[in-house]
Symmetry: C2
Subunit: 437 residues, 2 copies
């Protein structure tokens, strides 16, 4: 394939005409497809129908230690659920874990909220400070950025690389600026790029020397067991152990959930941290809740039995998801490979493919897709404040549609990418000619 940038103006114009015609035809089809969010498909959900039937008789409701999960008590989670979640997250000990409700997002929101109103380990509550800032590796997860924006926390973008965020920049910033209180991380199969942090990155995180004593790494290990392949699985170091070794035990909160293991919204979530951090959080939890849903915690333990059970289960998800990723990647490769107008990631896990269009093209591509009936994540969503400075990143979420829908959506997507790219190249040629005159 010839790169679009090498095409003459006449060639580009011919191509534009062709592509416009194809786009108008596609529009006429009345598509209604959704590649916008990382949602499990119906096939994935149907697969776990046995999940609801694992608790049946009244003795089933008791933990190994004899606690009745149907009653009050065990505010920070039943022991066997702590164990399962510790294993899932790759945390050394269940004592480092508390198990919460159905959404890890709530753990993160509550943690930021509590830091605002009560501060962390004796430090000034953030709501009393003039400036509070967070570092935001980007492209990243829009809902992380939404939390910090909601609380009026200033966000500073940090570029991502395939081995994790730019650590030189992070080390420098946190050492200099006491108002930097946190950083959002998705260390494994990152949202949206599917990158996993290298051992060096994890160790440099663990060894950070922030000016702020209440600086915290929000380590959202959302895709800890969400591999797409049986072989070739990414693994990351256990951040809690590394922080301990580095003499920095309190610097990190690790969060995860089973929303994309069992049911989205019907799973359980967990927080892993040092004893000092957990003790502080438990104090606040006794005020906030009478305890989370322990029946659902026990249900998870009974269904998976152990980490092996959980891993085997995740391979069933992979069997459904992998062909979808591969289908989208195949279309991207065949249709856009060699054209010099886009790059994309090739993740081995997680829920997304990250797509880089030419600068200034992302919004137009998403808008064109929308007009033709294909919903994508809003352009800019992967950056703080919803503003992608280069307007180039698009997050593709291939899991929810059926295979047929997905292929139709991807076909339309590449068509829009081509059309917007050609139009942009033509426009930039016009601008250059103008300047030349």
């Amino acid at each position: 394939m010839k790169s679009y940038k090498e095409l003459s103006r006449e060639e580009l114009k011919r191509l534009q005409k062709q592509l416009s015609k194809a786009y108008e035809e596609a529009k006429g089809k009345g598509l209604k497809l959704d590649m916008s969010r990382g949602k499990p498909s119906a096939a994935q959900l149907d697969m776990e129908m046995g999940f609801m039937d694992v608790l049946v008789s009244s003795s089933d409701y008791r933990t190994e230690a004899g606690l009745d999960t149907r009653n009050y008590g065990a505010m920070d989670g039943i022991p066997e659920a702590k164990e399962l979640m510790a294993q899932m997250m790759g945390v050394a000990s269940a004592e480092q874990v508390i198990v919460c409700g159905n959404a890890s997002l709530s753990i993160m929101y509550d943690t930021v909220s509590r830091s605002m109103t009560h501060g962390i380990l004796g430090n000034t509550p953030w709501c009393r400070l003039e400036h509070v800032k967070f570092l935001c590796p980007a492209p990243g997860y829009d809902r992380h950025f939404a939390i910090t924006e909601h609380f009026g926390i200033e966000m500073i973008t940090v570029p991502m690389t395939a081995g994790g965020p730019d650590m030189d920049m992070i080390e420098k910033l946190v050492a200099e600026d006491e108002s930097i209180k946190g950083i959002w991380c998705v260390p494994k199969y990152s949202n949206p790029q599917g990158y996993s942090y290298s051992a060096e990155t994890v160790r440099r995180f663990a060894a950070l020397k922030p000016a702020a004593k209440d600086f915290r790494i929000f380590w959202d290990n959302a895709y800890a067991v969400h591999h797409l392949y049986e072989e070739e699985q990414d693994e990351i170091l256990d951040i809690l152990s590394e922080c301990e070794k580095a003499g920095n035990p309190d610097i990190v909160y690790e969060i995860s959930s089973t929303s994309k293991v069992t049911f989205a919204g019907g799973g359980i979530s967990a927080l892993a941290a040092s004893r000092a951090n957990l003790d502080e959080i438990r104090k606040s939890m006794t005020i906030q809740t009478i305890g989370y849903d322990k029946i659902n915690q026990l249900r998870h333990v009974r269904y998976f039995k152990n980490l092996d059970g959980l891993k085997a289960h995740m391979m069933k998800h992979a069997a459904i998801m992998r062909p979808k990723f591969e289908a989208v990647l195949k279309i991207l490769n065949e249709e856009l490979g060699g054209l010099g107008i886009a790059e994309w990631t090739n993740p081995r896990g997680g829920y997304f493919i990250s797509f880089e269009a030419m600068d200034g093209c992302a919004k137009k591509i998403v808008a064109k897709c929308k007009d033709a009936g294909v919903a994508l994540t809003g352009a800019g969503a992967t950056y703080p404040y919803g503003v992608d400075p280069k307007d180039s990143n698009i997050r593709l979420a291939p899991t929810f549609p059926t295979m047929e829908e997905l292929e139709a959506a991807a076909d339309l997507f590449v068509l829009c990418v081509k059309l917007v790219s050609v139009e942009t190249l033509l426009e930039s040629r016009r601008q250059m000619e103008k300047k030349a005159c």
Copy 2:
């Protein structure tokens, strides 16, 4: 029975000796009983074992409108759960309701927390104000008071009467003091007295004219359907409708849950409020959560079907709980009736009996019970800051123990009440004689 106050010093001394001996004997029995918290008994929990089996096939997981409850979506609750909770709370329309997670306590905590960080309907966030105060009808619910204390909100005690809190005092205080931002209420079968607010009380609440625009009534309708008797059931007016009629639609948040309907910790909770309040809360919810556990919401709807199903179910609870309340009340009547040393309430619903000892006796009674192996709610817990100014109120929670345990606990309790009362009377006689000298 002769009132203790009419007994001579010699008679009191003889009685003290007798009671001390009986107490020492009781202590020797090595009891280990718990009347401290409003927990359902195992018998109540076993009764709902069919609850877990109502969702079985994959089509079962869809709402009437076809939404798959196993996936993301319907952040503020599925329509049929809103309907059920509206009916349970006695709220006119399901549109006034959002359905949340497993704990109404979390709704209340989150609402106060959000008011601290973001303010209510455009008013200054409470964390930026010098003084924030709450009115606290007492005796009341310790966990309410714990939330306001946690956020550094000053608590002002308002006396309770059988028809609700002292409305004269409330009307005056809220009209005068702009820093009073809220009041905690348990309007039906109040915790711990089991009082229900009269129609006049509800109407006066609805018609309040607070100085603070962001004053809110936290209407914790925790025991909306928790009657002990088939006949003789308390009913209260719908506060939301009354507030609307009074031109005060935004003044109230009503909260409830099914923690004591289905499973403690495994239920669903709901918040009812005006459109303006709910819209504001929904905005914040989209940041805090991806949505609550909709599978559990649907499970509740399928299990109860409608309000009649739910009411019938609550009568099964009553059948187990009523004999326990009656057993405790019988022992109180037989052992303490006419002695002039105590009063207690005779509730028709809820989870508690409120006991008034002689002034200065509550702490000693609770300590004596504890020493002999019977756990009661801490004396003072029913007042703000855990300080009962008269040290007289004790909350009795008869539901959790078996009947046999309960009778043993109540026997010990009345023994301790008598002993502490006699000792207190003897001490006050001594003090009076001293003064006379």
